[in-house]
């Protein structure tokens, strides 16, 4: 990994910290604010049959966490975009990780494995039956995105882009946030309203 690039991304991370308002919570998030540390997760089962923890990805410059699921039509409408994004950004040191916390049969691990195969998921798709990871981020729906910088602070949170319909999406919030971080800058937009089906908290 290019240490120069890493340093630049780190600087952007600190910039996010400095400029973030120390409010009680985000505009659309009652639990966390931009600039807060992103909660870690441990030992979540992946569709690859292995156990995954957030530390596994510590060498990634930027970590994009995506709370999603199988059954929600909005999440499904985004699947190809997630695959494209992961493909385009892996070599730039960006790790995309999807987490499902719904405990519906349609969303549990066997169904997740099947979906990952069908859609060619090129990123970890993890199952968190405790739902703690989603609660820790104040995640309300699927999909709900959190972009974490090298220090693992939240640099952007909310929607992936501005339309459920891929053809109509013009504001690519996650991509723009990641591009900015990689260039040593603060994301132009740090928070948008997430959009999708409610997470099925038990």
């Amino acid at each position: 990994m290019n240490r120069g690039h890493f340093a630049v991304t780190l600087a952007a991370c600190l910039a996010v910290l400095v400029f973030s308002v120390a409010g009680l919570a985000g505009d659309f998030n009652s639990k966390v604010s931009v600039g807060d540390p992103g909660a870690g997760f441990k030992n979540l089962a992946g569709v690859d049959g292995k156990s995954h923890s957030m530390d596994d990805y510590k060498s990634a410059k930027v970590l994009v966490l995506c709370f999603t699921c199988n059954h929600c039509p909005v999440a499904v409408a985004y699947e190809d975009r997630f695959v494209e994004f992961a493909k385009a950004y892996k070599s730039k040191g960006v790790q995309f990780v999807a987490i499902n916390v719904n405990n519906l049969d349609a969303d549990k691990l066997p169904a997740m494995k099947k979906r990952a195969e069908e859609k060619g998921f090129n990123f970890p798709y993890l199952y968190d039956p405790s739902q703690e990871s989603a609660r820790a981020y104040g995640a309300t729906c699927t999909p709900h995105l959190f972009v974490l910088c090298p220090e693992r602070k939240i640099a952007y949170m909310g929607a992936f882009d501005d339309s459920n319909n891929a053809d109509k999406a013009t504001k690519l919030f996650v991509k723009d946030a990641v591009d900015a971080l990689l260039a040593g800058k603060k994301p132009p937009v740090t928070e948008t309203r997430q959009r999708g089906c409610s997470i099925k908290y038990d």
Partner: protein, 218 residues
């Protein structure tokens, strides 16, 4: 409260009068003109209509029902919990309309899916005000209808003064998510409040304080 049925006899006997009120001879399923209503403010019995809406239209429908507690159900055909819970909303209307509850549904389906939305509403027997957001499932719907969490199901409860007093939505911080029973409990409280106010202004004021403390605006 008038209830017109579009059966043959009354239509034949007073065709001109009934035509003026929008009931077609033969009892067809034609949509009423947008916003048409009767003395009660509800859609005529047996009629299921849907209307494309923005925030202004929504406010207009709320204003139409001023004087009654109003339950608003935000849903869409692509939201499974929404379609599963919709019958509860229909039941609340059936059970409490006579006691003064007004019900409004707002769909976040795409406007181009209006026919499918109407079919669902007809099957549900949703004979109350049904709106369809002109912005469909995209952010402007959540923005314009104040759905901070970006997700449905979502319910709003307004008191008879048109004040938003309670919101039911997903809450990641809660030990327990809201249920249909919680909504009914709140509806019943508002309806009792309406009739209590009539008999004792002091009691009404005390209960007002209670309401504002309990308001959970998310």
């Amino acid at each position: 409260m008038f209830r017109f049925r579009c059966s043959a006899l009354p239509c034949v006997m007073s065709a001109a009068l009934i035509a003026g009120l929008g009931c077609q001879p033969g009892g067809g399923q034609s949509s009423l003109p947008a916003g048409s209503d009767q003395a009660s403010g509800d859609t005529p019995a047996g009629q299921v209509t849907v209307r494309i809406a923005d925030r202004q239209v929504y406010e207009g429908v709320l204003a139409k029902h001023r004087g009654k507690p109003i339950l608003v159900d935000f849903w869409s055909t692509w939201c499974v919990p929404c379609t599963e819970q919709f019958p509860h909303t229909v039941q609340l209307h059936a059970k409490y309309a006579a006691s003064g509850l007004a019900v409004i549904s707002v769909s976040l389906d795409e406007p181009s899916d209006e026919a499918r939305v109407k079919t669902f509403l007809e099957k549900q027997g949703a004979t109350f005000d049904n709106l369809l957001s002109k912005w469909g499932g995209d952010d402007p719907s959540f923005e314009n209808f104040d759905i901070r969490t970006g997700t449905i199901p979502h319910y709003k409860l307004y008191d008879r003064d048109g004040k938003l007093v309670e919101t039911f939505t997903v809450d990641p911080a809660a030990d327990k998510q809201f249920t249909a029973a919680d909504i009914e409990r709140s509806v019943r409280k508002l309806l009792q409040l309406a009739s209590w106010r009539g008999s004792s202004p002091q009691l009404g004021r005390a209960l007002d304080l209670d309401q504002s403390k309990r308001a959970r605006l998310f």
